[in-house]
Symmetry: C2
């Protein structure tokens, strides 16, 4: 690997300058005015890939083009040679509110080892690190132990609406052994980490209808159930005193955290007092028997996202409101099936509801939880690459959020995903003053270079 | 009384035509454009009073003038001659939405025995009936057994903001034995009724603050309490399975319903199925051990008027909301003190709240409950007048709403109020197609004539 590392070290400044060129495109997918910038960014990226030695092509979509860039297939490639996809996105979040930025969002600015700019960390810097890791092979004439295809899209920040169709249409040429994504975070440079689990999600809306219109609370109040009270009573019954969700069967299918996983999660740096202060709450609270890290990443939740009923303006209005509603999302963990949970939740809500009102449960969007075995060969290869690149023993972690594209890759290509995030907690993703740590970038380029060797050697089919 | 009844019968058509003139004024106090109409209506009414033989005067206020019209005091009036106030209001609710009216709101239209027009029932027709009852004495030369002062204001529909100050300033000349108000309802022409009790009110707002801003429910959810869930849990604890409010001491000071009262309330016509259908609820429900009539008029309530938290738009937003709030009003019954109940409610809410959030309880407006002894001489005089005027045994009822001016009369003039409503349940008060039943009007004129005799003879000081 030394020639690769030497190449990366020798070309670091040039690579950083190229990353700045990449970040300079205001490729804001949420804003129609930037459609041209997205196209120019994709074309620049395709040209850059060709310059490295990749076979690059832009595929138009109803939205922004998808870049596909492959390593050239060696003439003497043996049958069964492995193929990995690196997924990333070149579109970025809107930069607003602009007045909170200390630098201009699309004028990349380096301060010490920090590169400031919208998209520097999410996700341009992270996918660019992989391009540079592969470039090291191609430019030093080192043989790649596998085929690699970059799939870099331009609609991630607006729901990746073209990606699944694209994967389906090109299912054959995109058939692969695994997908590698660097679009998550690590606790610090001294705590490189592999994210091996994601929570799923299931959304629903509960509506309680009482009287046919708002009623005078003086004239009628007392003789009928108040829909806002009934809704409160229903919601209160959804969790018990130990912080557990009461929906029958809710925990039945959950793959329990193994002793190994709990030990790994316990190794993650966590300061409860600092975390409490960061959230701004008087005290933390969650499911009894689990640590806050487990509660927020490896345990399911029942979360009310919004409540609506009756009068919400200034002062008071003396009514029994006609209806009340709650928006709810449940975060699910590996083993739980969103459709089954949604059914069980709806049944339970209807069961605890009194016959004095009409209760409607409306299921919404959902996404499966995701888990790659932390002890399997894929994860182990990632951990080895991380350790060598960062010079610290890596951590295993789960993230509490959901990354729907991971399920698309699984469903359409039957490919597992390795989540090797390079973002730091203070990277200000989706916020003003986004930055990418250049040490994360250089370690990321080395991690990528190492990864292909580790994947090709360590993973048995 | 026969000459009085003969006078009223002989002049019925003329009186109805005068009432139409009264209703024709668009005296909408909520709409600034009608300020001139209110003034003209008050002047017309003052002139009408003078024509009857009353000493009438308009008192300007910051809003609309208050009419004071007194019966002429006889030269030979003995010391201790009784004095009663008849309270009413000449302002009306806005007529909107206009497209739902079948007649023009300010073109009084008679269909059969119904007089359609905004304000016909609330309150012009009802206070006009008293004017005609007194007119019968004055025009037939029948000696009035007491002094009567009409106080008819023009701001009732916008909060009677000038009235309390006016009563205070003229406390001496308005000193009286009781106040008579016809501004409530009766079940039907065959069920004349005296309202002897009103509920009080106490408003409060509860706010639960959790994290310092809306949090990503995936990244953080599970490790902190959700303010919307905590609010639901607090609210759910405010009532028990028997529909009783759980605030400690809530029921302690309530004057229990006597066997006589319960028997009287049970005599009121009530069709539970029709009532349920009218409210539009699948089933009625209230405090166990009480009838719906008792629940809605003679028992206290804890009513949520509004709920607000997090995201309320279309679709979903995956957040742990920073805060949640509820608007609440409690209806109180005789014996309960709003200030004491508000303190107990705030203490209880803070006590059941977990230490994981910040809970704020904000007390709002309040009003005392009201009760006149249904067996006392004042009520009995009213019942006798009702029975003779309507030709049916009258009922005793309570109303669940609050009429703040009743407490003003008690507090400032130390006078009890006799509530002798003439409105029918289908009079469409505050709604399109308001009407007043002309049989209610003619019976009301007779009731008024009878009342002064019954009050003067029956009530001992």
């Amino acid at each position: 690997m030394q020639p690769l590392f030497d190449y990366l070290a020798a070309n670091e400044q040039r690579h950083i300058a190229q990353l700045c060129d990449y970040v300079r495109f205001p490729s804001v997918s949420a804003q129609a005015a930037h459609a041209g910038d997205l196209k120019r960014c994709a074309e620049w990226l395709a040209g850059h890939c060709r310059g490295i030695g990749l076979e690059a092509r832009l595929f138009p979509t109803k939205g922004n083009p998808i870049l596909v860039a492959r390593t050239p297939r060696p003439k003497a490639a043996r049958k069964g040679r492995r193929h990995y996809i690196v997924y990333g996105h070149y579109d970025v979040q809107p930069p607003e509110p602009l007045d909170l930025w200390r630098t201009k969002p699309f004028e990349p600015t380096i301060v010490g080892r920090r590169l400031y700019g919208r998209g520097a960390s999410d996700n341009k810097g992270q996918n660019f690190a992989h391009l540079k890791g592969v470039e090291a092979y191609l430019k030093t004439g080192t043989e790649l132990p596998c085929d690699i295809t970059f799939v870099i899209e331009g609609e991630e920040e607006v729901g990746s609406s073209s990606l699944a169709g694209f994967l389906k249409a090109r299912r054959k040429e995109l058939a692969c052994d695994a997908v590698v994504i660097s679009d998550t975070g690590i606790p610090s440079l001294r705590h490189p980490a592999l994210t091996y689990g994601l929570r799923g999600i299931a959304a629903l809306e509960v509506r309680v209808d009482g009287p046919s219109r708002d009623l005078h609370s003086g004239i009628y109040g007392g003789s009928l159930d108040n829909p806002a009270m009934v809704l409160s009573q229903i919601l209160a019954r959804m969790k018990d005193a130990r912080g557990r969700v009461t929906i029958p069967g809710f925990y039945d299918d959950i793959a329990p955290l193994t002793a190994y996983e709990r030990k790994q999660l316990a190794r993650l740096p966590f300061d409860a007092a600092a975390y409490r202060k960061f959230l701004g709450v008087p005290a933390l609270n969650g499911e009894k028997g689990f640590t806050p890290i487990e509660q927020r990443s490896a345990r399911p939740t029942f979360e009310i996202n919004g409540l609506t009923s009756g009068y919400q303006g200034q002062g008071s209005k003396t009514i029994v409101p006609a209806w009340a509603s709650a928006k709810i999302t449940l975060r699910l963990v590996p083993g739980q099936k969103p459709s089954k949970i949604l059914r069980a939740a709806a049944d339970w809500i209807r069961k605890v509801a009194p016959p004095t009102v009409k209760v409607t449960v409306d299921p919404g969007h959902s996404g499966d939880p995701y888990l790659v075995s932390p002890t399997g060969p894929l994860a182990q290869a990632g951990l080895r690459a991380l350790e060598q690149a960062f010079g610290h023993a890596p951590f295993l972690m789960r993230e509490g959020g959901s990354i729907p594209i991971v399920n698309d890759f699984k469903r359409i290509l039957n490919a597992d995903t390795l989540l090797l995030g390079l973002a730091l907690p203070d990277d200000n993703l989706h916020s003003p003053n986004e930055k990418f740590d250049l040490d994360c970038f250089t370690r990321g380029t080395r991690m990528s270079a190492l990864l292909w060797k580790e994947l090709a050697s360590g993973v048995t089919r």
